[in-house]
Amino acid sequence: MSADLDPPSDGPWAQAWKRLRRNAMAIAGLVVVSVMALAATFAGTVAPFDPRISESWETSLPPGARHLDLVNEFVVTAGQAPRERDVPPWLHDGLGDGHDHACELDVVAEEVKQLRVTMDGAKVTKIQGDGARTLAKVELGPEDHLRVKDAGTRIEAKALEPGMALPEGVPAKTGRWVLFAEWVRIAPDAKRTVRVAYGYGTVSAVTVAGAAHAGEMRIRAEHVRDLRVDGARKEHVHVLGTDLNGYDVLSRIIFGARISLLVGLVATLVSLSIGVLYGAVSGYAGGRTDVLMMRAVDVLYAMPYIFLVIVLLTVFDRNLIVLFVALGLVQWLTPARVVRGQILSIKRREFVDAAVTLGTTPWRILVRHLIPNTMGVVVVFTTLTIPAVILEESFLSFIGLTVKFGGEPIDSWGALVDSGRNALGVNGERWWMLVFPGAAMSLTLFSMNFLGDGLRDALDPRQKGRG
């Protein structure tokens, strides 16, 4: 279909859309932005992990690291004595049989003993105990057993020292291992569903149904009384790795998109609303009012606005609203100028004269006739201001002025990128913590810029290529 065959009755928007559709980069940009926006909106369902739940031993996993999970449902009941024979065989075997299991757990109060053994490959490298730092040697009494979290493995009482071979039963895989040799009391009256996640041959996470996280409830093998096979084995993959806290990078990016895009969008809308209205009034009023209003804009232009934002953010409680206002307040000047220019040229057109002749009130003319005609500029400005605001926000994150999102601090892309650059090792270790959030941000900004350029060309073909 070619342009000259299109019905001439097409409105300017339809024509603009047609022109836009021919601009491959702009369309690609539109797609990327839409995908990001959708992902951000439905972050809860899209994100593979909860960005605020982490497993401490899953820190700094590289992209694609598998989180070999067996998600098992346990029902914890009180009062039953632990019976060794009730330990389900899959727990003895370390890794499961490819299925999810549910079982009943009995928990008894016992004295907490803490001993932490770090193993590298098949060597014990570090033993820590009882709050103190590294112990060269730990003597265990005859009644003590070193119970490794992947239950069933048991080290008979004897002195442990770094460099000793791994006890039998612990799968000899390479990598740093932390075997927890302790047990923890769980409230005896507690009866709840506990989910146990397995990874690297050890229990890696224990969560209690309903609660966010109960990673610290360590469940001994003999506490498991009954077991029900309950669904299939799940395998989680940290596609983009995990960060220093063990949070899934992909999920953090998806949730971060919420903040960044929301800040970008709302702050832009705030600034454009102010700018358009101000510019329109100024341009339409003309004369002395116009001169005065534009002088005010000139004065504000001279303000080191980022400083005002910083001051605003330190002055008021740092929440999103303040950020919106602060960023919006400083971004409205350019749209105001541009819209005024537009209004100046439009208001001489015949249809305005016609409206005036009909006795329409100036306000109505402004709202019904003039402002709608500046929407092209506004749309373009929106797509170009959003990236600017997102960058601005990331900059604020960098200098420590992060914002809260509904009481819970969720990191924006800027904050993610900043923590990424802090985590970056000398030889580029942990690059994924910087590269992926950075890429998400750049890609979005990239796309918005292309979309903005495309929109400008589409809405105003004469201006092609500007900026």
Binding site: P304, L308, L391, R421, G438, M441, T444, G467
Partner: protein, 363 residues
């Protein structure tokens, strides 16, 4: 033009007054006290402190006294955080590094941006064009607190070619080099037959442009040899602006190159260089010139980050800390200073614009 400049200058105090009032009101409204510490000092001690800095008086009196001191003595008061220093002192210490860094960055950005943009426009759709424009779009969307550490990683930690941080500038050779660069540029532009030996804008323009480029290149070379600490920060700060300028320049040039008058120039039998340098450049550079105003603001903002990452003793690093520690006087002082700089630079940009575009008339 002179009158216009004068009038704009007369406006400056008003702008600054608005700025100071606004900042003062804001920072006074802020909760928190400059003398709050994590260990509580007794009321008496705190009262003594507040009396020392005049904080016991009503805000309006404080403001009046502040303005009075600033206007009559050009005294911006004592810093509340740095007990041994006055705001004047801190600003005097920090302004040099910030300005030097900013100047280097702007020169680099303009040199890189204009060159890449012009070549991109003249060789539209070439490999260079696509590569440089992709790089530019990328450069615009990566925050400089990422580029900085990555550059450090590559050049300072892996390659060990440049220092990680610090500020050790060497000024000795720079003015001489600048003059030399302009001289060379003057000679070179004589060689490219832009046309008559006499007065024509194309040549001045080409000269200025080339001069800037040469000055930038020579500066970088000198800095490399004499004070390598500046290179990474200057490049970090320059990159987003270089990207923006390259895009603006390319777009501006493309628009101008499509103009009838460029066709006219070609039809006259002028060489392609002359057409570009004399006829197209002046029009094509206008968007870049009008961008320079916001760019100066951006450089000031960017220096907050770059100074922190590279531990440069500049004024930007002071500001954030001053705001966080409620050092009222220091915040006000820096805001005034930056406001003044912005006003002056914006004026300079407007003047240059008027100079380039004869159709603009300042009344």
């Amino acid at each position: 033009m002179g009158r216009y400049v004068l009038r704009r200058l007369l406006w400056t105090p008003l702008v600054l007054l608005v700025l100071v009032t606004l900042t003062f009101a804001l920072i006074k409204a802020a909760p928190g006290n400059p003398f709050a510490m994590d260990r509580v000092v007794s009321e008496e001690i705190r009262a003594q402190l507040e009396a020392r800095y005049g904080l016991d008086k009503p805000a309006i009196v404080q403001f009046g006294q502040y303005l009075g001191r600033v206007v009559t003595d050009f005294d911006f008061g004592p810093s509340m955080k740095f007990k041994d220093r006055t705001v004047n002192d801190i600003i005097a210490n920090g302004i040099g590094p910030t300005m030097l860094l900013g100047a280097c960055a702007v020169i680099l950005a303009v040199a890189i941006g204009l060159t890449a943009g012009t070549i991109g426009a003249v060789r539209q759709n070439s490999v260079f064009d696509h590569a440089s424009m992709s790089a530019a779009t990328f450069g615009m969307s990566v925050p400089n607190f990422v580029t900085g550490p990555v550059l450090v990683l590559v050049f300072a930690l892996s390659w060990k070619a440049l220092p990680v941080s610090g500020f050790d500038p060497s000024f000795s050779l720079l003015p001489a080099l600048g003059i030399a660069a302009l001289h060379v540029a003057w000679r070179v532009t004589e060689r490219i037959r832009v046309g008559p030996a006499g007065f024509s804008w194309g040549r001045e323009f080409a000269c200025l442009w080339l001069g800037l480029l040469l000055a930038a290149v020579t500066s970088v070379v000198t800095l490399l040899a004499r004070s390598p600490t500046l290179i990474l920060p200057a490049v970090t700060l320059a990159l987003p602006f270089a990207s923006r300028i390259a895009r603006l320049m390319r777009a501006g040039m493309l628009e101008v190159i499509g103009q009838d008058y460029v066709r006219t120039a070609r039809a006259k039998g002028l060489s392609e260089t002359t057409v570009v340098v004399r006829h197209a450049l002046k029009g094509g550079i206008l968007p870049v010139v009008s961008y320079l105003g916001p760019a100066i603001t951006g450089v000031l903002t960017g220096s907050l980050v770059v100074e922190k990452i590279f531990a440069i003793p500049g004024i930007g690093r002071e500001f954030v800390e001053a705001a966080l520690s409620r050092d009222y006087m220091l915040v006000l002082g820096i805001v005034v200073l930056d406001g003044l700089l912005l006003v002056l630079f914006n004026l300079a940009v407007d003047v240059v614009y008027g100079f380039l575009d004869p159709r603009i008339r300042y009344e």
